[in-house]
């Protein structure tokens, strides 16, 4: 998507269709000026993207720029501008440069949270991808009841997360939860699913995997179906065994799907707010707090709300993900992937 460079578009675009407004008012006169020409050639494209651009600019663009600005100040709830009825209290916060960033990067809290966020992201994405790949491979065969299985397996995606995460929270409950009741029925000790820091970390990862597998599976299944069957046939004739076929046909065939879903899934997991927030609120203590829930906490759950610090963490999250995306793209390009 964003990594689509103009040169590549040209390469696969071929001759662009003439997007002039035929028979429309705007295209009648022969445009002379460069800007005028650009307007007349591109107005169609611009008109098509305009709604998205306007919505994003107003709803995300302005708050984003404001967020970046706030991260360079000491803004909090007590010194930002407020309008109470007809009284307007002007803003009194000050510009502090990069102090917030220096503080975040030198303190333990940011780095500690970042460490767990990375562990969380990597393990969620890796396990989700592994399971999604395995299930997609199975579903891509002739097997009785395939469509039933597929529907059941996609179910976690179709249920609103606040419902399913809520259900998980009560399944996990140490005293009355279903999981421990099953364990005690089997004569095993109760597990403190959300009460022990280590177990809680595994528990939140499990729920996120549960939520994420359907997306992964569907995407990879589509990828598998687009691999021509003849390839497998030819390989089989050449005496390739199952592993070799997987390694040399399936994996390369899935490559372009995988690269995109891995990138997206990494971004989404890194910022996966609802799972952590609804399941543990970052607890016990701060054991499962990831960067985005902590940033939320700064701007909502503490008072006075610390807008500067929250924005600083938000911008740092953005930078980390942008660096990751750029790095990812570069590695792929080095490996000869046209992307």
């Amino acid at each position: 998507m964003a990594v689509d460079t103009p040169s590549q578009s040209v390469a696969k675009a071929g001759p662009p269709p003439p997007p002039r407004g035929r028979g429309r008012g705007t295209g009648t006169g022969k445009p002379r000026g460069a800007s005028k020409r650009s307007l007349s050639t591109h107005w169609y494209a611009w008109a098509l993207v305009a709604p998205v651009v306007v919505v994003i600019a107003v709803i995300i663009g302005y708050p984003l720029i404001r967020g970046i600005y706030l991260s360079l100040t000491n803004a909090n709830e007590r010194n930002v501008a407020r309008s109470i009825g007809v009284n307007n209290i002007p803003a009194t916060y000050e510009f502090v440069g990069l102090d917030n960033y220096a503080e975040a990067i030198s303190g333990n809290q940011f780095l500690g949270t970042l460490g767990w966020t990375v562990v969380w992201t990597v393990s969620c994405v890796a396990v989700t991808f592994g399971l999604g790949l395995a299930l997609a491979n199975i579903l891509n065969r002739r097997i009785a009841g395939r469509s039933v299985y597929r529907m059941l397996l996609i179910l976690p995606w179709a249920v609103p997360p606040f419902v399913s995460v809520f259900a998980w929270r009560f399944l996990y409950d140490e005293r009355r939860g279903m999981l421990n009741q099953i364990l005690s029925g089997a004569g095993l000790d109760a597990v403190p699913w959300l009460n022990d820091p280590t177990v809680a970390k595994l528990a939140v990862i499990a729920v996120n995997v549960w939520l994420g597998v359907p997306f992964m599976m569907v995407a990879l299944l589509g990828g598998l179906q687009s691999i021509p069957g003849e390839l497998y046939e030819a390989a089989e004739m050449d005496g390739a065994n199952a592993w070799q076929r997987f390694r040399h046909i399936t994996m390369p065939g899935l490559r372009s799907v995988s690269t995109t879903v891995l990138l997206l899934s990494t971004i989404w997991t890194f910022n996966m707010f609802p799972v952590i927030f609804l399941l543990t609120r970052g607890g016990p203590g701060e054991a499962t707090q990831i960067l985005v829930t902590q940033a939320y906490k700064f701007s909502f759950e503490i008072s006075p709300r610390d807008f500067a610090q929250s924005s600083t963490w938000g911008v740092l999250i953005l930078i980390l993900l942008m660096v990751f995306a750029a790095f990812y793209q570069r590695v792929l390009r080095k490996q000869g992937e046209v992307w």
Partner: protein, 425 residues
């Protein structure tokens, strides 16, 4: 933000116009009342428990119309957990805020400090203000002005299951040591756990802190005291209760698990306040209401006390209908209303005159909690009051789940406070 201001002004102007239209049509309708009559709409955000308390409050709130027929009361129930955030969002932006909000006692100075509340001195909202309990009135003061009217007051005590106590042949523990021996006996005789200790909310930690003679901060001396020896001891006490199996706890779902464990007779005791009475009596162990006993919280090594809590009614400074809002706040906190609330919900009034009313004085829950409230420890009524809990909660849970030691936990809370309270010792 210029656009925001313009829009607000527009809305305000519109509101004025609409109000004007409204009164116009009223006078055209041949009203005989004088010009001083209240009209318009009062929106009230209530935070009471849905399912039990909210119905009563809604009924009472809408009864305001009987006294002031031209005023419409819009009752909105906002879940307690969300109300503080929602009000802050709405109040700072200048749109969407209610006229009157039920503000928890610790929120009141904070909202006042942010400029969101209208000062009430000299308005219709404060009537017979000497009748209010002193400690209830204290939370409504900020910088020498009154910003809210006390609605209900509360504190905490030990709720115990009389049947389990009888089966185990024990008496209500008066201090922490007794709590441990009583719990051990209960476990031995009945196999049940002694106490459910709520581990995911710092409010439930306070009575242990007060028991060791400590406090979060000393507001008069501007001193942070949680890091002192008393704070460390309090953390040790709760940790010891859990380690010695005298108590069970949870890091999530604490409220629900506590109520369930107590209502189903799985634990013999919990620490809780009047707001839990209605829910507790719905439990199967308490089909016979007499089975529920309530006693003062156990004393620690240096004292005894539970935190004083409650709710106030505050008026939003940007309200477009201030006069009706003042009158509404007064109505909701009047002796008559408080008496009705006390009767129907067993919530403690804030007016001395209500306590001596026969039907209130004979209410068992109220009779019990009144002396507890009298002795309850007043919390620091500072704007940061509401922010003192979050650091405690984090460390409290960490201590209970073994992620940190009591010493390190107390120190970490103190460090967090130092960031929050600049220039405090």
């Amino acid at each position: 933000m210029r656009r925001g201001i313009a829009a607000t002004a527009l809305v305000a102007a519109l509101g004025v116009t609409l109000a004007a239209c409204g009164s116009d049509s009223d006078s055209n309708g041949g009203g005989t009342q004088g010009s001083g009559e209240l009209s318009g709409t009062v929106t009230w955000w209530d935070t009471s428990t849905v399912g039990s308390e909210d119905k009563v409050f809604k009924k009472i709130a809408e009864g305001f119309t009987k006294k002031h027929p031209k005023v419409t009361v819009k009752y909105v129930n906002v879940p307690f957990g969300e109300a503080q955030n929602k009000f802050k969002n709405a109040a700072q932006s200048g749109s969407g805020a209610p006229d009157v909000i039920r503000s928890e006692v610790a929120w009141t100075p904070e909202f006042a400090d942010l400029g969101y509340l209208a000062p009430l001195d000299g308005t219709a909202a404060l009537k017979d203000k000497d009748d209010f309990l002193k400690q209830a009135a204290a939370s409504t003061q900020y910088n020498g002005k009154t910003y809210a009217v006390p609605q209900v007051i509360d504190s905490m005590g030990i709720f115990y299951n009389k049947k389990i106590f009888k089966d185990a042949g024990v008496q209500v523990p008066k201090n922490i040591d007794e709590l441990k021996t009583v719990s051990a006996t209960i476990k031995q005789k009945t196999g049940k756990t002694g106490l459910y200790l709520r581990g995911d909310d710092a409010y439930w930690f306070l009575s242990f802190l007060y028991g060791e003679g400590g406090n979060l901060v000393d507001a008069e001396q501007k001193k942070i005291t949680i890091g002192d020896e008393s704070g460390v001891k309090a953390f040790r006490t709760v940790k010891d209760l859990v380690d010695s199996k005298a108590a069970i706890t949870d890091a999530t779902n604490g409220w629900d698990n506590m109520q369930a464990a107590f209502k189903d007779g799985k634990v013999a005791m919990m620490i809780n306040g009047p707001w839990a009475v209605a829910d507790t009596l719905a439990g199967k162990e308490f089909a016979d209401k007499a089975n529920l006993g309530i006693a003062p919280v156990p004393a620690g090594s240096a004292g005894q006390g539970a935190p004083q809590g409650g709710h106030n009614l505050a008026v939003y400074a940007g309200s477009k209908n201030l006069d009706a809002s003042y009158a509404f706040a007064e109505y909701m906190t009047s002796a008559e209303t408080q008496r009705q609330v006390a009767k129907e919900l067993s919530l403690l009034p804030t007016r001395q005159s209500v306590f001596i009313k026969p039907d209130v004085a004979s209410n068992e829950m109220i009779t019990f909690f009144k002396p507890v409230v009298d002795k309850a420890v007043e919390r620091p009524w500072i704007p940061e009051g509401g922010s003192l809990f979050e650091p405690v909660k984090v460390e409290y849970t960490k201590v209970l789940t073994g992620q940190t030691t009591p010493d390190a936990g107390a120190k970490a809370v103190a460090d967090a406070y130092r960031k929050l309270l600049k220039d405090w010792k």
